[in-house]
Each structure stands twice: as structure tokens, then as C-alpha cells.
């Protein structure tokens, strides 16, 4: 029982990693006042760019670099539409998701002719598991040994990075001057403008950070979690990250917990497949799969707490005209 739980938590960490990166990406963007439905597209775009570059150059790190570049480029399109041209944030996000869904397949067919996939990655082209020091030696120690060797050890570097990003994000958002301004521009851009700080530049920087984090999420999917790019491999993770962002009420630590909860539900859904619970019978996998979405709707409806986003989110900023 204990071992099963540890294995499920282990799976939770792997599944939650892209959600954490993407949800933190969304946090930077939305805290600055830019709604980002395009998380999904950026993850998918980066997953493709990372897998393609890793396949060509044989290095997961170069793949990661290209993934980040692709994702930041998409974030800049979003910025160009929403900040520079005061376009609708949702429409722009939908546009990016749609373009990427088509473009990744088109380009992968052109470059690799493998029905919309990239070649299978192996060796240095993937991020491989890291065994923490003494993990094997401690494996036999009761309780702690299992937690250390199974749960904490044996993940790839991006998993650890995802968890490290949470305190880093907290620090940037709450403890730095940039973070203060970032939060201010999402609440009251007029005040920021009056203080002589460029609203547009601040928001562009938030989107660059958002792009970088989504880029890592995508690279994780195709070069660490899987061994290559598959058509539509982001499979709604961007939207789930958005749900986690709302569920965590736009704050780093609660967002992490929401991602872990959603990841855990995913691990439960896989494990519960075909399992008959005495007295209840077989729980349909779909019922567990939809829980993240149902919970988010309930939260939005105000049945479990209240989700209040940044005040100026989604509204284009127009300078007062004389």
C-alpha cells in the first residue's frame, strides 16, 4: 500500500512538471495583465522545436534552447497583438494555438516525413534520469529509503528545476522591484504609467518570461517525458495549467499545489483503470479525468472559495489622450 502510494506520487511528480512550468508561465503573464490562452500552443510549439533540434544536433540542451526560442517567439506574437495593437487577448491566444497545431504537423512532415512525428530520441538527445547520491545504498532503509530512492531520486533535471522555479517565482513576484511593478501593471496600469514606467515594456518582459517557462514545459514533454514529438502531444496541458493557475488563485505556492493535485488525479486515473472498488464498483476513468476541470468550475462559481484574478487582466491599456 505504502509502496503503491510512493509510486503514484512519483508519477505525480513527472506528470505535474509541465503543468508547473506552464502554470507559472501563465502566472507571470496574467499577473502583468495579459490573459494567456496560448499556453497550450506555446507548449506544443516548443515540444516540436525541442524534439526537432535535439534530433538534428543530438543534444537535449540545444533542443531545450530551440524550444525556448520557439515559445518566446510565439509569446512575442501574442505581445505584438495584445500590447502593441491592443487586440483581444483570447482571440490572439486561440490564433496561436491554432497556428501551432497546424504548423508543427506541416513542418515535421516536411523535415522528417514520419507522419507528423520526429525521430525517436535517445542518449544525449534526451534528458535522462538523475540518480541522487546514495539513492541505491539507502533504498533498503525502511520508509525513508523508499521515499528517497523512488520518490525524490531518479527524475530528470527539468523535474527538479520545475520545483525550484516555485520559490524563484515567489521571490521575483513578491520581493523584487520588477515583481512589484509586474503585479501593479496587472492591477492598475494607469498608476504604473503615471509613475513613469512603460506599461508595454513591462508586459513584454512578463511575456518573455512566460515564453521561457512554456518553452521548458514543451521541451520536457518531447525530450524528457517522451522520446520525441507526437502530433498534438500537449493534449490540453496548457488549458489544464490555466485551470491550475486559477485554482491556485494566481499565487505561486497554491498554484504548485493545484498542479500537484491535478497531476495526482492523473496518476490515480491511470492506476484506477479497471479496478473494482468494493461497494462502489468500477470507477470510470473519465470521472477522475474530468475532476480538475470540474473543481475549477466549482471554484470559479464560488462554491469552494473565491477566485479573483488580477484586476486589469485582459484589458488593453490605452494611454489617456490629451
Amino acid at each position: 500500500m505504502f509502496e503503491t502510494l510512493i509510486l503514484m506520487l512519483d508519477a505525480t511528480m513527472r506528470v505535474s512538471t509541465p503543468l508547473i512550468f506552464a502554470a507559472l508561465a501563465g502566472l507571470f503573464s496574467e499577473r502583468a495583465g495579459i490573459v494567456d490562452i496560448g499556453l497550450e500552443g506555446k507548449i506544443l510549439g516548443s515540444a516540436f522545436a525541442a524534439a526537432a533540434a535535439a534530433a538534428i544536433f543530438g543534444s537535449a540542451w540545444i533542443g531545450l534552447g530551440f524550444g525556448i526560442l520557439a515559445s518566446v517567439a510565439l509569446a512575442m506574437i501574442h505581445g505584438f497583438a495584445c500590447i502593441t495593437h491592443r487586440g483581444d487577448h483570447i482571440v490572439s491566444g486561440v490564433a496561436i494555438n491554432t497556428i501551432v497545431a497546424g504548423l508543427t504537423v506541416t513542418l515535421s512532415m516536411y523535415w522528417f516525413s514520419m507522419g507528423g512525428q520526429t525521430p525517436t530520441l535517445s542518449g544525449d538527445a534526451r534528458f535522462l534520469s538523475i540518480t541522487l547520491p546514495f539513492a541505491n545504498a539507502l533504498a533498503d532503509v525502511p520508509v525513508i529509503g523508499l521515499i528517497y530512492s523512488e520518490l525524490l531520486s531518479g527524475h530528470n533535471i527539468l523535474v527538479y528545476l520545475a520545483f525550484a522555479m516555485v520559490p524563484v517565482t515567489s521571490w521575483i513576484i513578491y520581493k523584487t522591484r520588477f515583481g512589484l511593478r509586474l503585479r501593479a501593471v496587472g492591477e492598475n496600469p494607469h498608476a504604473v504609467d503615471t509613475a513613469g514606467i512603460s506599461v508595454a515594456f513591462l508586459r513584454y518582459r512578463a511575456l518573455i518570461i512566460c515564453g521561457i517557462l512554456c518553452g521548458i514545459a514543451g521541451a520536457y514533454l518531447s525530450t524528457a517525458h517522451n522520446a520525441g514529438f507526437l502530433k498534438d502531444m500537449s493534449a490540453g496541458k496548457g488549458y489544464m495549467a490555466l485551470a491550475a493557475l486559477i485554482f491556485g488563485k494566481w499565487r505561486p505556492v497554491p498554484v504548485l499545489l493545484a498542479c500537484l493535485l491535478f497531476g495526482f488525479l492523473d496518476a490515480v486515473a491511470i492506476r484506477m483503470q479497471g479496478v473494482v472498488i468494493p461497494g462502489i464498483g468500477e470507477v470510470p476513468v473519465q470521472a477522475i479525468e474530468v475532476l480538475p476541470y470540474v473543481l475549477t468550475v466549482l471554484l470559479l462559481a464560488g462554491f469552494i472559495g473565491k477566485a479573483i484574478g488580477p484586476k486589469a487582466v485582459g484589458r488593453p491599456y490605452v494611454k489617456e489622450r490629451a
Binding site: V94, I99, G102, L103, Q286, V290
Partner: protein
């Protein structure tokens, strides 16, 4: 900057045309980048969509779905609501159609089943839109997020229902039994051939006529009824709408119900008209494509028909294109669709402000 001084042809023709051209130019560059000739590609595309009877039939069949989802997005949009849940509403609408057909196809004639199936689609589609609508109107939950969540919930629900309850016994394929022929919506080529009009075989069916009727109804509802006026007022200026005594919550909910019902009609075309059984993922992205259609059609039924035919042509022509030039996949159509959303939606101000400014300056001078 007052809108009134800008000539009508500029805002209804020139600016949309420029936006679409930008989308096509960028798509052309993509095709060029993968080493193919965009002009040649466009040639195959146009031939595939309009060059022969069957092609035209397929184009209009795709357009049927897009008219439904385009209208759905635009009705909500007129009320200032972004219904991104067309995909889920269409999916559940299809469930309504499927249940009616499965229940009645052994006992009832077609003329009884058709109206009931249409009602089933509308009720189920609208029902799926009701919860997000209610939460938006009464509890202030953001409709974009809730409708996205409902798309995922719809998808899981349909997998559950089809795999566990509606699947044909002893079969592996996740779809229901095929309906008896008296629950098939007639194909247009079968209706027209006794009248001496021969058109090629295609999935084009009576749902296309339903789509055109919906266009007329939506036009009448939005621009010629009191409720339509209230919805448009709400969309233009919610504060003014409240001060004018409009029950904004009620108008919001009804706007979303109509939107969801329209999206549900995709089920009539797909389930009753073409597939003749309830199956997974028949919505195939039409809900999202509806956003592009409504943006391009400028939220007006006539514009939506034109935009739906254009996108239908892209879908159909895209398959032809992929057949003729194998390096180009049908997914290129999705890229074009996304670029249309980008240029005529997100970047709409890019040309608009400058061109309108130009015409206003000229009018003043």
C-alpha cells in the same frame, strides 16, 4: 475618430480583404518555405474545392458545420460574450441527435424523427451552454474559462457514454449501432436527382438547408427583434444596457442558450446526415473553426455564409492539395485558419486604425 466618416465599403470589404490577404500571404510563405510553389498549391486548392460536382458538394458539406459554429460564436459575441465552448456544445448536441435517432429509428418515419432530432440537438447544445452562461450571469465566473473547461468535460462524458453505454454489443469500435435508414437525413444528391438535377455524390445533406434557415433566423432575431436589440446593447455597452433597464443576466443566459443550440446543430449534419451513428470526436475542431468564421464574417450571417464557404473550400481543397503535393499536409489548412484568426481578430487594429485614419483625413480635407 468617428466611425461614421469611414465609407462603408472600407469597413465591410477593404479591411476584411486586406486581413485575409495577409493570412494568405503568410500561408504562401509557409508553403514556399517547405519548398513548394504557393501559386500551384492555390490552383489545386481551388480546383479541389470548386472544380467539379463532388468537390463543390464536399465544400458545402464542410461549410454547413462552419455556418452553425460561426453563427454560434457570433450570437454570443454580439452580446459581448466569448463562447469558446462551441466544440463541447456541438459534441453534446450530437448526443441529443444520436439519442433521438437510436430511440425512434425502429418505430417512427423520417418526418417525425427530423424535427425531434433538431430539437434534441438544440436542447442538448443549449443545455451544455447553460451552466457556463448561468455562472457568468449570476456568479460572475469568466465564461471563457468555464466554456473551455466544459469542452474537456464534454469530451470525457462522451467517451464514457459511448464506450460504456452506447457502444454496439460485441464490437470493439467505439461507436453506436448504425441508425436505420429512416433516421438518415437525406443527401441532397438523392433529393435532387428525381427532379432531374444531377449533382455528384457527396455528404452534402439537408442540414445545409437548416444552416441557411438558421442564418435568416439569426439575422431576424438580432436586428429585427427587441431581444436582439437588447443583446447588441449589452455587447456594445453593458453599463448603458443596465441603465436602460435591460435584464442583463437574462439576456446573457438566453444569448448563450441560442449560441449553444446553434453549435449543437453540427450534430444534425454529422450524426444524422453523414455518419448515421454516434461516434467519438465527430466535431473535429469545427467549434474552434467557428471563431475564425465569425471573425472573418464580421459577425453577420451573410459574412458568415461567405466565410464558411471559404473555409469549407479550404478543408476540401486542402485534401485535394495533400493528394497532389504529398509534402503539403492537410494541416496547412489549420495554419491558414489560425492566421485568419490572428489577422482578422487579434491584429484587427493593425490596418484598421491606419486605413480609417486615412479616409477620415481625406474626408476632412
Amino acid at each position: 475618430m468617428s466611425q461614421a466618416k469611414v465609407p462603408t465599403w472600407v469597413s465591410v470589404a477593404l479591411i476584411p480583404f486586406l486581413n485575409i490577404m495577409m493570412a494568405f500571404i503568410v500561408s504562401g510563405l509557409v508553403i514556399l518555405a517547405i519548398g513548394e510553389n504557393p501559386i500551384e498549391a492555390a490552383g489545386y486548392l481551388i480546383y479541389g474545392a470548386f472544380g467539379y460536382d463532388e468537390g463543390v458538394g464536399y465544400t458545402l458539406y464542410y461549410a454547413t458545420n462552419l455556418i452553425f459554429t460561426g453563427l454560434a460564436v457570433s450570437v454570443a459575441f454580439k452580446g459581448g460574450l466569448f463562447n469558446i465552448g462551441g466544440e463541447g456544445q456541438a459534441y453534446i448536441g450530437g448526443l441529443g441527435v444520436g439519442l433521438v435517432c437510436l430511440a425512434l429509428d425502429h418505430t417512427m418515419p423520417l418526418y417525425v424523427i427530423v424535427p425531434l432530432a433538431i430539437i434534441g440537438a438544440a436542447v442538448f447544445g443549449a443545455g451544455w451552454a447553460y451552466i457556463p452562461a448561468y455562472l457568468q450571469a449570476r456568479r460572475g465566473s469568466h465564461i471563457v474559462i468555464t466554456t473551455i473547461m466544459f469542452n474537456f468535460i464534454a469530451s470525457s462524458l462522451m467517451v464514457y457514454l459511448i464506450v460504456n453505454w452506447l457502444k454496439e454489443d460485441g464490437r470493439m469500435a467505439p461507436n453506436s449501432r448504425t441508425f436505420e435508414e429512416n433516421a438518415w437525413l437525406p443527401y441532397l444528391h438523392k433529393i435532387l436527382s428525381p427532379l432531374g438535377i444531377e449533382i455528384g455524390d457527396s455528404p452534402l445533406n439537408l442540414a445545409f438547408v437548416l444552416a441557411l434557415i438558421c442564418c435568416v433566423l439569426v439575422w431576424a432575431l438580432l436586428w429585427h427583434t427587441r431581444w436582439g436589440y437588447q443583446l447588441r446593447t449589452l455587447g456594445t455597452n453593458p453599463t448603458a444596457a443596465r441603465y436602460a433597464g435591460i435584464d442583463t443576466a437574462k439576456v446573457t443566459i438566453w444569448g448563450m442558450l441560442i449560441s449553444g443550440g446553434l453549435a449543437g446543430f453540427v450534430g444534425v449534419n454529422e450524426i444524422m446526415g453523414v455518419n448515421h451513428s454516434l461516434l467519438l470526436n465527430f466535431t473535429a475542431g469545427y467549434g474552434f473553426a467557428g471563431i475564425a468564421v465569425s471573425l472573418m464574417g464580421r459577425n453577420h450571417p451573410i459574412g458568415i455564409i461567405l466565410a464558411a464557404i471559404l473555409f469549407g473550400a479550404l478543408y476540401q481543397g486542402g485534401s485535394e492539395l495533400a493528394f497532389e503535393i504529398p509534402t503539403i499536409t492537410p494541416e496547412i489548412v489549420i495554419v491558414i485558419q489560425g492566421l485568419v484568426i490572428l489577422f482578422s481578430g487579434a491584429l484587427e487594429h493593425m490596418f484598421k486604425d491606419r486605413i480609417e485614419g486615412f479616409f477620415i483625413r481625406r474626408a476632412v480635407a
